[in-house]
Symmetry: C2
Subunit: 390 residues, 2 copies
């Protein structure tokens, strides 16, 4: 086990009928807030009205910032930051999926930043304060509701970049599984895949071979996520399955699975951010298209043993007598699960052609440099991984 | 899954060579602290000198409170509280096992309480503030380093009672597995059993049959704890095994395994507190003596299915075709593991006679009333459980 620091101060309020507590929980934060939302779905389902009423009942003035799209963009963050500063709001409420929560965090940091928020994503500037953020996720996927990360796309430069800070952990997150009943079938699956990928990346990429506690928790979360994804697709309004998916997705990226596994890159996320930035594919779909190929690449060149362990402990694979064969079988078995949950499992299935690998690699390399992992994930390595994913 | 709230603000600093960071991390807390320690072991191993020097280097005045014993007593808490108020200290540092950490928390709460701290344990008064507590555990066992609980024995009345509060979560805990190298063989095992029991009680006693995430995490922690306990006994200075045991023991009672499983009692801890209070047995030894009998009682009367699941997933038990037989086999298998790690597995092995059951039950009933579970765990039920443990 490697040395680590762990601190996650987010308060979680989880369950049925919890939104009624919103006003009471946030009233000490101030008298003005921005309510960030996505497209129309929050209004259609009634959750928007419930949240707004909960805030206004406490005398809080609510400024609306709606229309956040998947792969959220910098211009929206700038719009929200101007609103936050201009109206002198005290906190930000996010009602939506990862895009909405990430936008809210970036606004919260931007409002307290002496400079340009995009420089934070470029690694040139540090967040030293942020407005409090309250998250009400409507999708089980990003884990943004219990971590300090945010991912924003600069639509002008064409880069989708991640940033994180101890100041951008949500103050409180209200996890109401019922809000996810209306998530469409495909996005339910993309969310499950995203969460599985959050667990898999540190699990596979840890430099430390002795992480028994972390392995057990990671494998348990993956089994739960895979099972619940199927369960939610089968019965979209099954509270228990939605609850299992939501809590497991939150735990998948709240720091617990990463504590003690050492510094490790997130190469699948890194490459997927380029797919989203270039082709506009949903994040979870992009991850799905990369994961089996990435596992085969791993099985062939790196961490063969861990991929084999994953197959045997999470996918019911038999020990094939040698690690590489077992690991390759794990990649296939995972691909079969992706097909079961109706996700793509190759780049071709997303209509991304092999001739684009160079372009994708160059985009990903830019992030690789910011993350300081350009030695391990240079253009050659990225193209090699992409060739396994085609 | 049941509704829940989860918030654990403790910052964990884990690993090798971390004690050098103590002074820098606490210097903003103030200029005076109490350093709570147990018997001579912290002085013998040099950790006391290291901690004291780390504090004094930052100009912090350190007041010593040493001599905290296993099953820590109220008189020591009172002594520390008087010292804290008299010297106007700003924070409390605990260097030791669960007894030392619990004493430190009770002092921290007592120093800010307008009234008698024992009334908090009796459920008559609420903690509304506390001095910051810094924990440096020297034993993997209680999980006190990452929760708000404390257990104190009133040596006059003969009751050992638990209390908890959001204010008594340690501010920072330094988890240095090397500090546990010198823990004797029997206390290493008692610590492992204590941590396993912390996971098992909510796992078995949850009123909700659908808790897949929680089950996976609980079972993973139990497997890790059982394996690492043996590993640490075999090689007391194996860093990796000590690290696995320490982090798993911390996660065992930091709230993660309990979130979503609903309100559940801790009957084994409840009864064990009476054993410790009456006979002075080490906490882990008392738990060990109760666990197989409690499992048999469970297998016979309640939660048969969960005990069977535990046996199959954590102990390698085969499905015997009916739940009760599988569950009884789980209890036996767990008893065999206790023998392997040289722990008692019955009350008789602790020389506690069957004729004392009434006395134990009456003591436990007092706690049962404070916890508000006297309907489920009345004297008859407690004696029934004890008869399975004899």
């Amino acid at each position: 086990m490697e040395n680590f620091e762990f601190c996650n101060p987010t308060k979680i309020i989880f369950g049925k009928g919890i939104l009624g507590r919103l006003g009471g929980e946030v009233r000490t934060l101030g008298e003005k807030c921005i309510l960030v939302t996505g497209s129309e779905s929050a209004r259609r389902t009634g959750s928007y009205d419930l949240v707004k009423a909960g805030l206004e009942t406490e005398g809080i003035t609510v400024f609306d910032l709606s229309g956040v799209k998947a792969n959220p963009v910098l211009s929206k963050v700038r719009e929200g930051t101007e609103m936050a500063c201009g109206e002198r709001v005290c906190f930000i409420v996010a009602l939506g999926g990862g895009s909405v929560m990430d936008t809210a965090k970036a606004i919260a940091a931007g409002a307290r930043l002496n400079g340009d928020i995009w420089e934070v994503f470029e690694g040139k500037r540090e967040i030293k304060d942020a407005l409090p953020v309250i998250c009400i996720p409507t999708l089980a996927a990003s884990g943004s509701e219990m971590n300090g990360f945010m991912v924003i796309t600069n639509e002008k430069s064409g880069y989708k970049l991640a940033a994180g800070s101890p100041f951008t952990y949500p103050r409180i997150s209200f996890l109401a599984p019922e809000l996810t009943f209306s998530v469409p079938r495909n996005y339910t699956a993309y969310g499950g895949v995203d969460a599985v990928c959050h667990v898999l990346e540190p699990y596979f990429n840890s430099p430390d071979p002795f992480t028994p506690v972390q392995d057990e928790i990671a494998e348990g979360l993956i089994r739960t996520l895979m099972h619940a994804t199927g369960g939610c697709m089968e019965k979209p309004d099954n509270y228990q399955e939605r609850a299992a998916l939501m809590w497991a997705a939150t735990l998948a990226l709240n720091g617990i699975t990463r504590a003690g596994v050492g510094n490790h890159p997130f190469p699948v996320h890194l490459i997927e951010h380029s797919l989203s930035a270039i082709y506009g594919v949903p994040h979870g779909a992009g991850l799905a298209a990369l994961l089996p190929g990435w596992m085969k690449w791993k099985a062939t060149f790196r961490d063969t043993k861990k991929v084999a362990q994953f197959g045997m402990r999470c996918l019911g694979c038999k020990d094939k007598g040698n690690e590489k064969d077992t690991a390759l079988e794990a990649a296939d078995a995972f691909g079969r699960w992706l097909s079961e949950v109706e996700c793509p499992r190759t780049l071709s299935e997303l209509d991304i052609p092999g001739k684009d690998h160079e372009k994708i690699a160059q985009n990903a390399l830019f992030q690789s440099r910011i993350w300081g992992i350009e030695n391990d994930y240079n253009a050659t390595v990225i193209k090699e991984i992409l060739s396994f994913c085609q």
